[in-house]
Structures are given as structure tokens and as C-alpha cells.
Subunit: 330 residues, 2 copies
């Protein structure tokens, strides 16, 4: 089934079930008011949501309405955890090489992961608000999964069972703030403003054969101001699969239901696929010509991130955002 959250003026919005073709939707309020409420009691709620989804597919759901991704929050407008991996290790190696840094061999066996802010995500059509273009505004197209409760110390071989939903993310990054921040040693904070997610989160079965080996085997398409920027395959070159990322996150603590685990920027060794973030393209330019020519995002730029199934239909709906200037309070 496919789930989304409508904006209602409340902090958590309203849970809706969306049809497979993203054309229609129906409120799930009688089952669970919000997506977090459904995740909090998934074993009881999921079968009822699946029933409602079946009614909707059959055209028999009462009060069904036209689905409009412009009215969507992130599926979880706020979450209790956003743990973002960096599972496409060749991307990490590339970025390091460009700045002349060796990558430790352990990076191929021990996942990189950072703790992201999860208190206020931005919706799939919400603007990316930023006070300054000088911060080096970048997109990062990723796949993310939402877990149920995960026991501390779970083995990767069992962690896949805890995945409830899959969605796309735009992990907005402020590249020019990151080097100074990482040099301080405590990881990302200001360099990672609010993340956006796709209009729709789907259960793994919706992906059919494209969900295999704990990875999503479809290209993510990234458009910048209407032009195709990259379409790397999320299933290719993903060094750590989602169960491994979940097990890494849970090594020393329990993960609560509604935890979001991200893949990190999707990146393929096959450079003809293009990139899923500007930083990677700039890195390739530096390695090829000694100089980055692709600029970071500017106010008014539009970013579109989507994933199509084998028949060309959008799986999650599109993230489609404009970068806008933010005026801080006096």
C-alpha cells in the first residue's frame, strides 16, 4: 500500500491511503489519525490500512478524493529519529580523492552514518528556505526506509524484517558550512538543514522485484530547473544494504517505531548515469579539469527527485522544490 500525510494545519497532518497510480486517496482517520500513530501500533493498523487500500484500488472506498501531492507534508512531518547513512562508498571515496584525502579501508566494511535533525521536515513541494546562497546549497537524492521498533544489537540478517515503509529523500546540505563543522569533530549540524521527503511512502511489496537484497533496484531521476541532472540506480554500488544500515544504527541502542534510515546520496560508478548531488558533479569536474564549474543551488532554482517503475509510473510521487531566500527574524 501507499501512504501519505495531508497538511491540515496541525503538526502531524492527516494520514491518507493513496492509490497505486497516485490518482486517488482516502482518509485513514478511523484507523490511525497520523502515520506515526499507525507505526506505533503497526501490527494492528497495517492490516486495516491494507483493507482500505484494497477498497480504494477497487473504486469502492467511500469519500475517496483526487490525490494532490501539493497538499502533502512529508509522510512523517516530524519523526523521532532520522539516521542517515552514506552507503554508496565510491561516492565517499571520490569526494575524498578530490580533496587529496585517503579513505580508510574500514569505510568498505563499517557504515558511515550521521544523526540528522528530525523535528521539522519539509514537504515534497515546500520551498528550501535558506538565508544565504553563500552556504553552498545542495540537494542529495536518497532512498530512505521507515522502521518498526528495532531491538538493540539486532543482527543485519534480521533487521530487514523491521522495515515498514520506503520513500525518497532530499537531504539538503549546505556544502560550504560542512568542512568547518566536520573539522570540529562532532559531525553535522548547521550543514544539514531540514530534509524533504517524497509525497508517498510505500510498503516494500509495492516495489515488487525492484526491492531485493535490502536495496531498491530502480534509478532515481534528478532534474535541475527542468533538465535531467542524473539518474543513478539506487540498487547499484550500494555497499551497505538497508538491513546493514539498521543494524549499525541499533548496535548500542533500541530504535523506536518511525525511525527513518537513509541511504546517503545515490551514486553509481558508471559516470554516464550522472549524479544525485551537485557536490559529486563538482568533484568530478575538479578531478577532470582542476576546477568545479557547476554552481551550487541559487534562489529560484528548482529540484525534482523521482523514481519511476519499469512501466514509467511514479512510485513515490515527485519531490519538487524551489530554493527560496529566507529572511531571519530581527
Amino acid at each position: 500500500m501507499k501512504l501519505a500525510t495531508l497538511k491540515t494545519g496541525t503538526r502531524d497532518g492527516k494520514l491518507i491511503v493513496v492509490s497505486r497510480d497516485l490518482e486517488h486517496a482516502v482518509a485513514a482517520s478511523e484507523i490511525a489519525p497520523t502515520l506515526q500513530a499507525a507505526l506505533d501500533d503497526w501490527s494492528a493498523k497495517a492490516p486495516r490500512l491494507a483493507q482500505l487500500s484494497a477498497l480504494l484500488e477497487d473504486g469502492r472506498a467511500a469519500d475517496a478524493f483526487e490525490f494532490d501531492p501539493n497538499r502533502c507534508h512529508a509522510p512523517l512531518p516530524r519523526a523521532y529519529q532520522w539516521a542517515d547513512g552514506s552507503a554508496y562508498v565510491n561516492h565517499v571515496e571520490l569526494v575524498r580523492r578530490a580533496r587529496g584525502a585517503e579513505m580508510p579501508p574500514s569505510f568498505w566494511t563499517d557504515p558511515l552514518m550521521y544523526q540528522g535533525g528530525s523535528d521539522s521536515f519539509i514537504g515534497p513541494r515546500d520551498p528550501i528556505l535558506c538565508a544565504s546562497e553563500d552556504w553552498g546549497i545542495d540537494l542529495e537524492a536518497e532512498v530512505a526506509v521507515v522502521t518498526d521498533d528495532v531491538p538493540m544489537g539486532i543482527e543485519a540478517g534480521r533487521a530487514g524484517e523491521r522495515i515498514r515503509l520506503i520513500m525518497l529523500a532530499n537531504d539538503v546540505s549546505l556544502r560550504n558550512l560542512i568542512p568547518g563543522e566536520l573539522a570540529k569533530g562532532f559531525g553535522f549540524f548547521q550543514g544539514k538543514p531540514a530534509t524533504a521527503f517524497s509525497p508517498v511512502a510505500v510498503t516494500p511489496d509495492e516495489l515488487g522485484g525492484a526491492w531485493a537484497g535490502g536495496r531498491v533496484h530502480r534509478p532515481v531521476t534528478v532534474h535541475l530547473n527542468g533538465s535531467l541532472f542524473g539518474q543513478p540506480d539506487a540498487g547499484q554500488d550500494m555497499t551497505f544494504d538497508f538491513p546493514q544500515l539498521i543494524a549499525h544504527a541499533a548496535r548500542t541502542r533500541f530504535l523506536a517505531a518511525g525511525t527513518i534510515v537513509g541511504s546517503g546520496t545515490i551514486s553509481n560508478l558508471d559516470r554516464s548515469r550522472g549524479s544525485a548531488c551537485l557536490a559529486e558533479k563538482r568533484t568530478l569536474e575538479v578531478l577532470e579539469t582542476g576546477k568545479a564549474s557547476t554552481p551550487f543551488l541559487r534562489f529560484g532554482d528548482r529540484v525534482r527527485i523521482e523514481m519511476l517503475d519499469a512501466d514509467g509510473a511514479s512510485i513515490f510521487g515527485a519531490i519538487d522544490q524551489e530554493v527560496q531566500r529566507y529572511q531571519p527574524p530581527r
Copy 2:
């Protein structure tokens, strides 16, 4: 007023108002079922909670009962954000000196902060569960504040107005996992397991004159297995006050109501006050004798963290936890 959360078998527990002397309490369910619900609508809920608090102080609250911190969750059993500073910069400098590393001068002007996991905190009397003593289990006694919504880009001069509650934290750390983790460059993850908080969170006015300049001017007392380990003053040597920490966290993003911002391990230049974490004591030992003699926590050890007012009464109740072995699932 003083607020706490009773364990009820649900994820978020039940909000209660606690008497100033921590002797009695009354359910606040008719005002807000949970502390997060109160924070989500603070301007409407706070006056009603204050009325209930006044009734309780007057002995006129219906259905008041004896307050038992052993039945408490963390005030927020799960939160949407836990942003932990490291505001006692002389502590940071000391730890660096012990390992022969220079501290950049910018550390005195630009706060250190990491994004902590907030999906499943542990209650004030819950055990610290850990799979291995070899991970170097440590306590960190801190002060933490809970904010209302905070606009992105807020100036420090206005950020203090957004503080709603104050509490104590035990930011449990796994010292032997941290160096390898920080070397990877993405900050803490496995090195910071679940954090514990004091039984009670209080509004700033409850501190009277001890809340001044965006700092809490009282010693935190740390006991280890019944012996006093340290009692550094939280108001001394705190390089960045809470409004500065909040402004740092909000520089590139909005903070949602219920965001917890921590001070970092409390530490005084006056070494006669002792320490609020084992790592600092071990560092001092290394600097003095070349060798750390204080061990990290072992299974069965008890940690008690408390703050007394000028009359010797506990302000927040005590965090009192035993370290216990955790058996991961097969």
C-alpha cells in the same frame, strides 16, 4: 511549575504536575495527555497547568497522589530533537590536551554541538543497558532545556524567550567507541546510546535567582556507588549560555516545540569540585600521573545525578541508575 511523565505502558506515558517539594502529584490528563502535547500548544496549556500546580500546592487538587520517581519516564520519553552542546569549553580543552591535540581558538566563540538520538530515552531510574563493559561506559551529568518553536536564524538575544522547561540529563557515552567513530568524520552515533533525564522538568521560574544569564547557577551532584564523585557548579565556566546554544542550533533550520538542548558535561576549572564524567577524571589522572586509574562503569555500578536548591531540597529529583548487562537477540 514542575512536570513529569508517569509510565503507563504507552510510548509517551501520562503528564502529571508535581509539587514543589516532589512529594505529591496530580494527573494533568484533562489539560494535556502528554508533555509533548502540552509543548505543542504551550501558550494555551501552560496557564492551565499553572492553575493545577497552584491547586496542588494548596492541597486542593482532587485525586492528588504520592509522587514516586521510580514510576517516571523521562519527562519526554521520546522527543523530536536532542541537540547536545559542549558548553564547558575548559573541559574540551582539557580532554584535548591529554591526548596532545591543540584546541582551535574558535572553540571559545563557536559552540560545539552534536545531534543526539531522541527516539527512546531512558527514565531516571531505568538501568543503563549495555552489551559490553569494554565499550567504556561513562556518565555525563548535564543541564538541558526544552524549547518551544524557535524560528530559524533567531538571535541569541531572543532565544532565551523560547525556553519552556529545564531538567537534568545523563548523556551516557561509550568512550571506547568514540575515537574510532569521530575519526570517520560524521560525528557520534554508536558512542552515544540512550540518554536519561531527571524525573521532573521545571519551568525556569522554579529556579528563582539560580536561573540567571541563561545558565543554572547551582552545583550538580554526582554520586558513584554512593560516594560523592563531583559537584561542579553548572553556572560556572559555562562558556556558552543556553540562548547561545539554541541560536547555534537554529542557525539554518527551525526548531520544533519539544526540542531538547543540552549543556554538555558540566565542568569547573576549580578541580576541587570534582567531575561530572569519568572521562574528565581519567584525563586529569593522565595529566598528573601519566596513567588513568579510575575505571569506566561496570555492570552493577550505580550513578546518581541530582541538583539541590540553596535549602538542600532536590529541584528535579534524582537520576539514579544501575549499569546492567544487555543480552542482544540471537
